[in-house]
């Protein structure tokens, strides 16, 4: 992974790390990804599809949750909602 890659991953991750730390992160992630190469040797043809995890998503109805702490935990709560900086 080169510095261009790390910038693209940072953008996708919604992270913004200082310039001097990018190389450290990049090297560490590269080393971890190198370790992942052991998976290339695994033949997955025999993986039994019957052991697939069943789908656990449900059609739950949304429940309105009201609690005073919801407002207190908000960095900037106003009666009309959560205030954020301008989008553009």
């Amino acid at each position: 992974m080169n510095s261009v890659d790390i910038d693209s991953i940072l953008a996708l991750s919604y992270l913004d790390v200082p310039e001097d730390q990018k190389k450290t992160f990049s090297n560490q992630i590269r080393r971890i990804l190198d370790y992942m190469s052991v998976l290339n040797k695994v033949d997955c043809e025999s993986a039994d599809s019957r052991l697939e995890t069943p789908m656990v998503a449900r059609d739950d109805s949304p429940v309105v949750f009201e609690h005073a702490l919801v407002k207190e935990n908000a960095p900037d709560y106003r009666p009309e909602g959560f205030a954020v900086p301008k989008i553009l």
């Binding site: 919604y14 992270l15 971890i32 052991v38 998976l39 301008k86």
Partner: protein
């Protein structure tokens, strides 16, 4: 420290009141925490008030909850209504939970009293408890060494005799590895046995809540209390035979078929650890177990699989921390995007950022199939391999960790080395199996060594039965802990 049943008996006989017990526990925490940093908060007013109410109920002859008056600690990633829950992160500083997690509620409903929050690696990501915004936890056996992680505060609190029970969460070994390092019993139940509702999500397909205790029987009793179907967790298993932690009765291991993976007894494991584990295996054999060794083909592959799947889930789960509705918001004069990026940059620590980046990378277009898709296939193969192994064996045993507790700072600059300390525990999470770590000896520095027992899905009862039998045979004495004590109980 006395067992839960002994404490229960003393309370029932009124040898000690609930309030006295809670006050002595709070004193013990105050005294010992200066050296350990295991607790980051105590609920003193709340705990004393509950204890007084329980004493009043007993005085009036009302029905008493089975574990009334017994204190327990909560890892800082489980919600308790009205109390702070921060995951040891600046990102959640000041956040108070508006609801209580099911596991904690089950404990409270059984009479246990929450006395405080324990330290942990930030968002449960780490194996040493050095990645905490509150600073590292010290190992009670040697304070210059780590407690293990990520539930290091809970492990140290129980090892030091501050509380008889503490809750932790285990995603890749975060209960069993610190239990091993601190010389206590740690339980990772089968995925789906204990509700995850109210546990701040790290990797949802792997996370599971479990207890730390000083005795196997206590751990079995607490696991029973924690267990049960919960409609609030879609992965909670509804059709499971209830665990009977009060019914452990094996006195021999006759007929138990025990398998040992050769790869976890090789020279990649520290010599002292191998020796102690071999000694424990001999105890099992003397108790009548049939021991055999086998090759487990996916030890390195399991680690690689875990460090793809877990970070992938992290990158998704932690996307909710954006400084908009709750959590840390960095003052930024820019746009919404600038605010989100700078809040995440300043709110998360390095290990969390590393895992978010790794997870984002393996999920990104062009890399998804090569990493995430492949890892999901290997995970299925690992599960399948365990399923086949449990046709031959009743229990699979190994060291819990390849080393004893290492010195603080030894691995913090080498994430890969840190990840390797979970090599024996990670396969268990990937397959969703139950696993228990019990202490089985010490190394030449006097640091504890853990022995891991893994069973079939939802076969915790057998693991506890075998572990208790082995515990009695080994006779490990937790009193050797430097700071450990009896807390007056």
């Amino acid at each position: 420290m006395s067992s839960l049943l002994n404490i229960q008996e003393k309370i029932k006989k009124k040898d000690v009141s609930c309030e006295e017990l809670i006050r002595s526990t709070l004193d013990e925490i105050t005294t010992k925490n200066k050296n350990l940093n295991a607790f980051i908060d105590v609920f003193d007013t709340r705990a004393i008030s509950i204890a007084k109410a329980q004493d009043d109920a007993m005085a009036q002859g009302k029905a008493v909850k089975p574990f009334a008056g017994i204190p327990f600690a909560i890892k800082d990633n489980m919600c308790l209504e009205g109390e702070l829950v921060t995951c040891a992160s600046k990102m959640l500083s000041g956040y108070r939970s508006p609801f209580t997690s099911t596991a904690v509620l089950n404990m409270i409903n059984a009479g246990f009293i929450p006395v405080g929050r324990t330290n942990m690696d930030e968002f449960a990501m780490g194996s040493s408890n050095e990645y905490s915004v509150y600073g590292p936890v010290s190992n009670p056996w040697a304070t210059g060494h780590v407690s293990g992680g990520s539930s290091g505060g809970s492990a140290a609190a129980v090892a030091a005799g501050m509380v008889p029970v503490a809750l932790g969460s285990d995603t890749g070994g975060s209960i069993r590895q610190p239990a091993s390092f601190c010389g206590v019993v740690g339980v990772k139940p089968t995925y789906g046995r204990v509700s995850r509702y109210g546990l701040v999500a790290f990797a949802s397909s792997l996370d599971q809540i479990g207890p730390f205790c000083q005795h196997v029987k206590d751990a079995a009793l607490v696991t029973q209390v924690l267990s049960g179907f919960d409609p609030n967790d879609s992965t909670s298993e509804p059709n499971v035979e209830p665990l009977r932690g009060d019914n452990l009765n094996l006195t021999s291991l006759n007929g138990q078929r025990v398998g040992i993976p050769n790869q976890l007894m090789s020279n990649t494991i520290n010599a002292s650890v191998r020796m102690a584990v071999q000694h424990a295996i001999e105890h099992m054999e003397n108790l009548g177990a049939h021991i055999s060794y086998f090759d487990f083909p996916f030890v390195d592959e399991a680690l690689a699989t875990y460090y793809i799947i877990a970070p992938a889930e992290v990158s998704s789960n932690l996307s909710r921390f954006d400084g908009v509705r709750f959590g840390y918001r960095h003052a930024s004069a820019g746009t919404l995007n600038d605010m989100i990026r700078s809040s995440r940059d300043h709110g998360f620590g390095d290990e969390v950022k590393r895992r978010i980046m790794l997870g984002t990378y393996v999920l990104s277009s062009g890399y998804y199939d090569a990493y995430y898709g492949k890892a999901q296939h290997v995970r299925r193969l690992i599960t399948q391999t365990f399923s086949d192994l449990f046709k031959t064996y009743d229990i699979i045993c190994s060291p819990t960790a390849p080393t004893t507790a290492f010195k603080k700072g030894e691995n913090t600059n080498d994430p890969m080395q840190m990840y390797l300390s979970d090599i024996a525990t990670i396969p268990v999470n990937l397959a969703g199996l139950p696993g228990v770590s019990i202490p089985c000896g010490t190394d030449d520095q006097g640091l504890p060594i853990g022995f891991q027992l893994v069973g079939r899905w939802f076969d915790e009862h057998r693991i506890f039965d075998v572990a208790q039998c082995l515990e009695h045979s080994i006779g490990f004495n937790p009193k050797f802990s430097q700071i450990g004590g009896h807390n007056g109980i």
